[in-house]
């Protein structure tokens, strides 16, 4: 009888040890899972924070240059500056055209003045010719007058030559002005076309960037919503994992009961009454409703998750 009891006692002690080990293994696993949750939550939060910073959502980015919103703004600003510079260049070109047109008008006036000068020169030539005839009629008395007439005729020739040269220069100037005007007008028209095209392309690019930004912002909102769902899921998992704490406690109580049983058996406390007392000692340590129900110790108490503030 004693030998059999000794064997059972050993088995009981081993069972207790196994239960403790099992409890420890479950706890280690749960701690590992909790660590993973912490990692998942931290990484999810970091990802959302980085994405928020990149998009410059709500102006929360520390530097506009690093944010997507800041990049769009910077690109938009640069493109507008380029467009404005091109438009200013077009204005300068138009003003140049107006001035060359004014110069052309001045050249026309010069040509008109030269034509009038030419008429005067012709009149002077006729005057000199008539003066020479009159001087010949006057004979010796007209000799001096003849000299003046000859000089006047020579001056008239020189004047015509100079007028012709200036006329030629004015003509060249007008021709040059016309070709320059034509080039400038062509360039201006092309510039206007290019500016119009650039404006369209810039507007389209900015629209694309804005659309990309909106899409990314929507994705970010999705990520944030997913993060909230993740937090809820983790919360549910944390609640679920607490089974380990309850199981550990129950195992601890079972182990304690086994120990008590072993002690009692060792003492060879034969009487049934002493055995019952030992069982009651074990039950008194039970802290969970389920344990008390198993032991048949029903009593009003709060359920899991209940909160009561005093």
């Amino acid at each position: 009888m004693d030998a059999a009891l000794a064997r059972y006692l050993t088995q009981l002690a081993r069972m207790g040890e196994q239960l403790k080990q099992t409890s420890k293994q479950i706890e280690d696993s749960v701690v590992g899972v909790c660590d993973s949750f912490q990692g998942i939550a931290s990484r999810a939060q970091a990802t959302v924070t980085r994405a928020t910073g990149f998009l410059g959502n709500g102006g929360q980015s520390t530097s506009d240059r690093q944010s997507f919103e800041g990049l769009i703004e910077a690109c938009s600003g640069t493109l507008v500056k380029i467009l404005n510079t091109t438009i200013e260049a077009g204005d300068v070109s138009r003003r140049a055209i107006e001035r060359i047109e004014e110069m052309d008008k001045a050249s026309q006036q010069i040509s008109e003045a030269l034509r009038q000068l030419d008429q005067i020169t012709n009149s002077n030539r006729m005057l000199a010719f008539n003066a020479r005839i009159e001087a010949a009629h006057a004979g010796t008395a007209g000799t001096g007058f003849a000299v003046v007439a000859v000089e006047l005729a020579a001056a008239t020739v020189k004047s015509r030559s100079v007028t012709a040269h200036v006329g030629e220069l004015a003509l060249n100037l007008r021709s040059l002005a016309h070709s320059t005007l034509q080039d400038l007008r062509n360039m201006n028209e092309k510039d206007a076309e290019r500016v119009g095209q650039c404006r369209l392309e810039v507007d389209e690019s900015l629209r694309d960037l804005q659309a990309a930004h909106s899409e990314m912002a929507a994705m970010l909102n999705g990520m944030t919503a997913d993060g909230a769902l993740l937090a809820t899921d983790i919360g549910g998992a944390v609640r679920g994992l607490q089974f380990q704490d309850r199981i550990s406690q129950r195992i601890a109580h079972v182990v304690s009961d086994l120990d008590t049983l072993c002690t009692r058996l060792k003492m060879h406390a034969g009487p049934v009454a002493r055995g019952a007392a030992a069982a009651d000692e074990g039950f008194s340590a039970y802290t969970m409703q389920e344990e008390r129900e198993v032991a048949g110790l029903g009593e009003a108490e709060a359920s899991a998750g209940d909160v009561e503030l005093f």
Partner: protein, 120 residues
């Protein structure tokens, strides 16, 4: 950032409560049992204590009784977080000076709501 001391002999429970509170924006200190909590509180000031009931070395009720004797902890909230739900035990906790009683397993969201409610 508000500081919370979690007292529980179960590493996993400390992890779960700690995780929940950290996610809720709290700083967390952990202690394994009542005596460990008293030792840690000599070097730290906390805004709230959440303690288990049944622990080795010093249980939750004794811890609360000790804490309420300290001027710094006289009015600070102390919550019990335990599997124990018996009315008699709760009365003991209340008499010792506990601010509230939460029965495990706790709901993380509900825990944060309760913490927000008891913190000044």
């Amino acid at each position: 950032m508000k500081k919370v001391l979690i007292v529980d002999d179960s590493v996993s429970m400390r992890q779960m409560v700690g995780f929940t509170l950290r996610e809720g924006g709290f700083e967390v200190i952990e202690a394994e049992h009542g005596q460990d909590a008293l030792d840690k509180l000599q070097a730290a000031v906390v805004d709230l204590v959440i303690t288990d009931l049944n622990m080795p070395v010093m249980d939750g009720i004794t811890l609360i009784q000790n804490l309420r004797k300290q001027p710094a902890m006289k009015t600070k909230p102390i919550l019990m977080l335990t599997t124990e739900g018996l009315a008699g035990k709760k009365e003991q906790g209340k008499a010792a000076g506990a601010t509230g009683w939460i029965v495990k397993p706790f709901d993380p969201e509900k825990l944060l709501q309760t913490v927000a409610k008891v913190l000044p």
